[in-house]
Symmetry: C2
Subunit: 362 residues, 2 copies
Amino acid sequence: MRSDTDTDKGTDMSLDLSADVRALTARLVDIESVSGDEKAIVDAIEEALRPLGHLSVDRDGEALVARTALGRAERVVIAGHVDTVPVAGNLPSRVEGDLIYGCGTSDMKCAVAVMLKLCLLEAPNRDLTFVFYDCEEIEAERSGLLRLTRNHPDWLAGDFAVLMEPTHGLIEGGCQGTLRAEIVTHGVRAHSARSWQGANAVHAAAPILDLLNAYEPRRPVVEGLEYREGLNAVGIRGGVAGNVIPDECVVTVNYRFAPDLSVDQAKDHVRDVFADFEVRFTDAAPAARPGLTHPVAARFAEAVGGVPRAKYGWTDVARFSELGIPAVNYGPGDPNVAHRRDEHAELSKIVECERRMTAWLS
Amino acid sequence: MRSDTDTDKGTDMSLDLSADVRALTARLVDIESVSGDEKAIVDAIEEALRPLGHLSVDRDGEALVARTALGRAERVVIAGHVDTVPVAGNLPSRVEGDLIYGCGTSDMKCAVAVMLKLCLLEAPNRDLTFVFYDCEEIEAERSGLLRLTRNHPDWLAGDFAVLMEPTHGLIEGGCQGTLRAEIVTHGVRAHSARSWQGANAVHAAAPILDLLNAYEPRRPVVEGLEYREGLNAVGIRGGVAGNVIPDECVVTVNYRFAPDLSVDQAKDHVRDVFADFEVRFTDAAPAARPGLTHPVAARFAEAVGGVPRAKYGWTDVARFSELGIPAVNYGPGDPNVAHRRDEHAELSKIVECERRMTAWLS
């Protein structure tokens, strides 16, 4: 949705990687890149990276992979998405004190700025693979990272991955899995003036809501991190017309499960909870174990500091986990303001993140 | 939705009122008249009635009112709608034994055929007002009868009304009132991966469904007829997205109430039942008392025979009731097959209805 004026200002699309990471963040934020419309920003990143002799650059659609080939003992994958949620009158970016405001500041252009600064390291102590990808903020099947795992899994090879999603500068280990299921009741339609001739499927959903209200979520500890599960209705629907007894009611539940359960085990649990009802699973994504017990992850945690915590939300670390690559979430953005109209990031956190990552890799 | 062929066959649109009531029913059924598309059938009826010297004919859009002016002591209004629900591959009509099949056979072209036969009575013992109207099968505000009550209440004046909706040849007295209300719960949105930061409005709807399950509907006797109330969910909705704790849940309930309650009293009752919740009323239509204690109604009941029963559904008798005209439902169609693909009417019931009405009015 860029304006014609923006498109015409061709030179404005270039990125100066020698700029300060804060200025580079502002620059990236000001190149609109709502999911599905990432070409301009990916072109700019590719143009900036191509001249760097120590990186080989590959592209698949709007996903870009830049790699060193220094023959180091370990290879680290550093990944971030370049798309944002829709702009909400919050562009261009503006700075107020230590905060930079704008769509995508925290989620996650500040992290992309850090990645671009790390791309300048000519002789890092580990081989590096930078992954910039598209369509993270929309339906999973369009994810650029998913596409790379299918088309070019070799480009993603590595011993450890850092996914730079917003964590406010803390290491968040693994991620919880998520699944959605429809819990369904059935009835018999009838005219509501003669309701006794039917059976009301909405009324029949009462015990489903009772089960949800009574549910006690687990808080298991996995590899030292405490996870916090949840089983919640995220939707309910039923009804045919204003004068008809409904013959179906569907409660959509979302189960967020800790990484000690597989998707199949999580499904079994949901089936158990709603044993008296029809259960239809609609989608699921596996959890990822924190992976912090892996030596390379432990060294990373030591280098960047802080106390690792569990990641409650589902993130793309699970995709690395599925490829057999231990992965953590670590980024300078603030997850609590992501997707909000007043989204912002702390400039000092961005500088600190760049410093810690640089120190770890130098 | 008539085909071009139909429109071209101008002469086929004419009605022969001297035909047998069964043949006339078939003729009317074969002139498609889905709500909003009644011009052809109303034109045909008008053309058939204009030549009758004992009737004055008035038209408002697709509603037609034909009246005698014989100076009789009583005036009876006989009313029926000419529209049907959408055709469902069930035209043209066909006869199998005593049944005539087709869209609108029972609801209510067989009754319109009886009305047209009664229009031929040149010297009935009561003055007669025949009301043929449009758009009964769709949203109330488009009702042709409602339009007549606003534009020409004088056309509808009378001492008693017979609404010839399908009752299978029984007198059904009055009608129950109906109101719809939204019972609303509120919560706090949160990401479903951190559900404890929110409050789930769908879970909070459990007590609403519990109240509905525990509800004991009344069965009051009004003017000798037993009514049977009902309070039912006809819809439920809630949910923002698959990963968001919903902040609102709306249960739409439909209260069908007996004619011993006014709309205001019915609303008070619903407010009482859901005293702990926000209640938003969306629409309401008053009940109509059976009116069978009125002398003219009693004479009608005596003349056509059978044991009058209560009408559970809401019908246009309530509109006559609001005009101060006692009204009953009485028609030859079968209410149980109305609106169905296999809709049909019993030919013998149509003949019997014509005979009884003619006897009453002669």
